[in-house]
Symmetry: C2
Subunit: 319 residues, 2 copies
């Protein structure tokens, strides 16, 4: 089968609160975007239904040749199964098979943060950097170490769980069951909750970040309070991974420089002989997960997309 100019792929990124979808061209350009609520509050099946419905609607309209799905949590990529995703309520969900049956096209399963990291490596803020740590801050906080375009998966598929470093041992209880994880301080729900408590106004994370962008005083004070905990977690990651660059996606990336300057200073203060990596906002914004899921598909297509080098073993890679 050869690819025609019309061939497109479908990409989905199932986040903690929304499922984002995109139709991508052979060069991974985004031709169309859509999204839907996960409906996670109605249980794991509702999420599956929401995802398949969104996918089927786009498939009927755009006739993609294949699809990529990125999900959070712990996945068995080879088997196409989501083993565990707390935010979706999923356990042992064979989502690749279900989606392939629903759509009638080949489907590739990927991990949301690792897919986003892949997209940043090839098309975003990781370009030209052989060793960077991508950090995604949202409903959860997770990281992916990218080395020469390849991504650290870990022995059980759970490498990079930055959000579950203990940064405040006597802090709040985390959804994972432990106390004081970075997510209890710096995740979107933690920040929005603190913002709501401070203002007496019930505000979601999206609205809070919008206000932060507009220079809201409470948001600024809240960020100043969050930076030390985030820097504690990042200092541990830098000490163990030694990346050349930190690429940060999520709310802080939208707000930009004013978020990153205090973070850089706090990180530097915590490091001794370690080289403080440069800190950059992610380049692809909310598209990163979808573009990454699309790249996973395009890399497997008969005519590889011309998107820089797909992952290839290198004889002299400095792991």
């Amino acid at each position: 089968m050869t690819r025609t100019a019309d061939e497109v792929v479908l990409a989905l990124d199932a986040g903690g609160s929304r499922i984002r979808a995109a139709v991508l061209g052979p060069d991974a350009s985004v031709l169309h975007r859509a999204s839907a609520a996960t409906g996670a509050e109605r249980g794991p099946d509702a999420v599956v239904e929401a995802l398949l419905e969104l996918a089927a609607g786009l498939a009927a309209q755009y006739r993609p040749v294949a699809a990529g799905i990125a999900v959070p949590g712990i996945i068995d990529q080879a088997a196409g199964i989501c083993t565990f995703a707390a935010n979706l309520g999923w356990r042992e969900v064979p989502i690749r098979q279900w989606a392939a049956e629903e759509l009638g096209i080949p489907v590739v399963l990927g991990h949301d943060v690792r897919a986003a990291a892949l997209a940043e490596a090839r098309l975003g803020a990781g370009r030209g950097c052989r060793s960077f740590l991508y950090v995604r801050m949202g409903t959860g906080i997770a990281a992916a170490l990218v080395l020469d375009g390849r991504i650290l998966v870990g022995g059980h598929g759970s490498a990079g769980e930055l959000g579950h470093l203990t940064v405040r041992p006597r802090g709040r209880l985390c959804a994972c069951g432990k106390r004081g994880c970075l997510e209890t301080v710096a995740s979107d729900p933690a920040l929005a909750g603190a913002y709501s408590r401070a203002t007496g106004e019930e505000v979601g994370a999206e609205e809070m970040w919008r206000r932060a962008q507009a220079g809201d005083d409470v948001a600024e004070w809240l960020w100043d309070r969050t930076v030390p905990a985030l820097a504690d977690g990042l200092a541990a990651a830098v000490t163990l991974f030694d990346p050349r660059r930190l690429v940060i996606g999520g709310g802080p990336a939208q707000v930009g420089r004013s978020c990153f300057e205090p973070l850089r200073a706090a990180l530097e203060k915590r490091l001794a002989f370690q080289t403080t990596p440069e800190i950059l906002p992610a380049g692809l914004g909310a598209d990163a997960g979808c573009v990454g899921a699309g790249l996973l598909v395009l890399d497997q297509r008969p005519t590889p997309a011309r998107l820089g080098a797909p992952p290839r073993p290198r004889p002299a890679a400095r792991l």
Copy 2:
């Protein structure tokens, strides 16, 4: 040039307090061992002299065809330079060139903990494990992540600095300039110091570990006190690296099972969804660094040693 049955290589491992040397056969078997004090208290030049003298003496006797030198700290492996090694007092020491001039044979420079990890991967407690974290506890504490026989180096050559994770923010000042690093609690000097204060007897680390092996009560109490801090550091490493196995070298490995059971329990208590890796004592003891330095040399020899697979890129390696 073809290798004859007689060809041997020289390997040196410059530790914080002693330089260990070994003469290795083509299969990396240890034919002869020697060691000398670093003399680090007399300054960086004294360490260089001690190392070259030890090497020259063995070279004169055994006529090695090449040498490998493993040093701690931050090294530029390609350039053969030790950029910074706090425990040796070295800064920008071109030790590979100096040793090659002194010995008249090719010399390879490596990092001590990464060399030891390589040795454990091929010949020790890492055999058969695609993803493990080697932890060396001694004058310093450092780790190396081994993936399919390849070792994480980091963007600036300082990945795996486990000993400089902050585990006791209000703890003692570390040699690195920060407070409460794991090394201030669990390194050999920290443990020996605490042992001496508890017993009123001036005891070095070697003697303390010997007594611990013999079931000494104070040593046991001290280990119980150390385990929580060590588990804090290892929990962070497991959360970020997700290794299948922890291989621990140094004093605790000599003492064995009685050290590892409380550590395993403490680590498990700190982890939620993360899989607790199995914990094994290192298999090569104090030889690991030398054997690893030797492997670096043997891998570059014209006829590769038959020691399991030398590092090779794999198309489908799960980074």
